[in-house]
């Protein structure tokens, strides 16, 4: 098993670095002339990207170019994102986009979204949005996907090494990583799963709750690291939170017992006349709960990133280093707060999932 894991790790690293192409520094002059746009900079950092920018100017700095995988009408196309970032920058009014070159011929990237160029080789804009151009389905290994791989790999290695410790030493008092992880694992099992899901059913959901807890926590922490392998706003991405919330919703619906459904379609103690109002409310309620889960995690993590970036931007807005004396301590304070939020949001997501699942499998007791 150990060899398989090592092999997996090696393959992962090779895969990761084979996509890496480091660009030389150039093209600084063009950047400096542009007005510093705070909201654009922040949005750029908070959103997904096809490159992993390390340092240097935005275009031409040191960057890991990530692979692009597109499903176009001609089939699946795979190439490095450097074919966009190294391509021509086309200015069209207020908008500018990268025109792909080489294998990316005929494609263009506008705000990290990839479109097919029309017959004239252009993108059409309406109110700052691309209009009319075909959008191929983008399965690229973006910054968030890479971060997802790294985060999941870290979690798996951590937990696997804990598990190995127990396998080697048997049921003894833990040491090292296991000593640190065990209280958290036991906490999730006892305080989140056991105390909110009934005794009969809670064991089934412990692996899921543990996985989402550590997945959210570790990825939150990775997002707080300002440079590779951190800095991706993975858990503050609506797609990730949507996926996790949907899993909780599916678990709730699949495991909902007779008692759960009867509370929705025939709430006890409610007069018959009110049922036409109550049933739709209850049905909406099924979806609002995971919806709130999705928004809470997304908003908390994204907000944290935005606040830190905004504080750092103070220096660049005012164009003087002295502002660092204000913005750095504040950003540090928010970063420390974010450490707390990272754990808190993971806890809340797992706790609320346990609550919803607990409500779905609860036995009738009245």
């Amino acid at each position: 098993m150990e060899r398989v894991v090592k092999y997996f790790g090696l393959a992962f690293l090779i895969a990761l670095f084979s996509f890496q192409a480091i660009a030389s520094e150039a093209d600084v002059a063009h950047e400096a002339e542009e007005e510093f746009n705070v909201s654009e900079m922040i949005m750029h950092h908070v959103k997904d990207a096809h490159e992993w920018h390390l340092w240097g100017p935005e275009h031409g700095g040191t960057t890991i170019y990530l692979p692009v995988i597109l499903k176009t009408k001609d089939g699946i196309k795979t190439f490095s994102s450097s074919h966009f970032y190294h391509g021509d920058i086309i200015h069209d009014g207020e908008n500018h986009y990268f025109k792909g070159e080489g294998p990316a011929e005929g494609l263009a990237m506008f705000h990290e979204k990839i479109y097919e160029l029309d017959s004239k080789g252009k993108l059409h804009f309406e109110n700052g949005h691309v209009h009319g151009n075909v959008k191929p389905i983008d399965f690229s290994i973006t910054k968030n996907v890479t971060s997802l791989f790294i985060g999941s790999f870290i979690i798996f290695m951590m937990m696997f090494s804990c598990a190995r410790y127990y396998k080697r030493n048997g049921a003894v008092a833990p040491k090292g990583l296991a000593k640190f992880m065990e209280p958290l694992i036991v906490f999730v099992q006892d305080e989140i799963a056991k105390s909110h899901i009934n005794e009969k059913n809670y064991k089934r959901f412990v692996p899921y709750l543990l996985t989402i807890f550590f997945f959210i926590w570790i990825n939150n922490l990775l997002g707080l690291i300002p440079i590779f392998p951190g800095s991706a706003n993975l858990t503050g991405n609506i797609t990730i939170t949507l996926f996790l919330a949907t899993l909780t919703l599916i678990l709730t619906l699949v495991n909902g017992n007779k008692n759960y459904w009867s509370h929705i379609f025939a709430p006890p103690g409610v007069p018959k006349a009110l049922l036409p109002i109550m049933i739709p409310i209850e049905i909406v309620g099924i979806f609002t709960k995971p919806f709130a889960l999705m928004i809470r995690l997304f908003a908390n993590i994204t907000a944290g990133h935005i606040v830190i970036l905004a504080l750092i931007s103070l220096i660049f807005i005012n164009k003087h280093e002295a502002w660092g004396a204000l913005s750095v301590p504040m950003a540090l304070f928010i970063s420390v707060l974010e450490l707390l939020v990272a754990a808190l949001q993971a806890y809340l997501f797992a706790l609320l999932s346990a609550l919803f699942i607990g409500a779905a499998v609860e036995e009738a007791h009245h």
């Binding site: 290994i141 997802l148 127990y166 049921a171 694992i185 550590f214």
Partner: protein, 164 residues
């Protein structure tokens, strides 16, 4: 608006990665860890329970021991007391007996002394009588060896009679 628009590609990768992570962790991490932790918890609680039980047993055993010890002590005391009283009575008996014996011996000795004395007295009396007779015979003989002496005696006797 992009910020709140889910992305299909990312959703696809998230689905694959999260589901495989869930599967791998459940199989290779959570199961062994939770099994180990719960087993240990169980063994600890079992051990504690056993210790508690043992303590209870020890307590009851000790109480029993104390009871037994107490009983034994009481028994010993009784035996000692019995022994003492027996000894005392034996000594008393012995004393009494020996006293009696001594008394008997003394009495027997006294009796024999008395009878010896009586016998001796009787013998002495006989001897004295015989001796007095002999003396008297000798005296009479000397007194009556001459006429004057016979006369003197007669006178003497006669004066004695007169005094009566």
């Amino acid at each position: 608006m992009d910020l709140v628009t889910p992305d299909l590609g990312l959703l696809f990768w998230t689905g694959i990665v999260f589901c495989s992570l869930l599967f791998l962790l459940a199989k290779f991490a959570w199961k062994p860890i939770l099994t180990a932790v719960n087993d240990r918890e169980k063994s600890i609680s079992d051990a504690l329970e056993l210790a508690e039980k043992t303590r209870e047993e020890m307590k009851s055993l000790k109480a029993e021991n104390d009871q037994i010890l107490k009983q034994a002590k009481a028994e010993r005391d009784e035996i000692l007391k019995d022994a003492k009283s027996t000894a005392t009575s034996m000594i008393d008996d012995a004393k009494n007996k020996s006293k009696e014996e001594a008394q008997k011996i003394v009495d027997a000795a006294k009796d024999s002394i008395r009878s010896e004395k009586a016998a001796a007295m009787a013998e002495l009396k006989t001897h004295v009588a015989a001796l007095s007779l002999e003396i008297a015979e000798k005296v009479v003989r000397t007194e009556l060896s001459s006429d004057e002496k016979q006369k003197a005696l007669a006178n003497n006797l006669a004066s004695d009679i007169n005094m009566n």
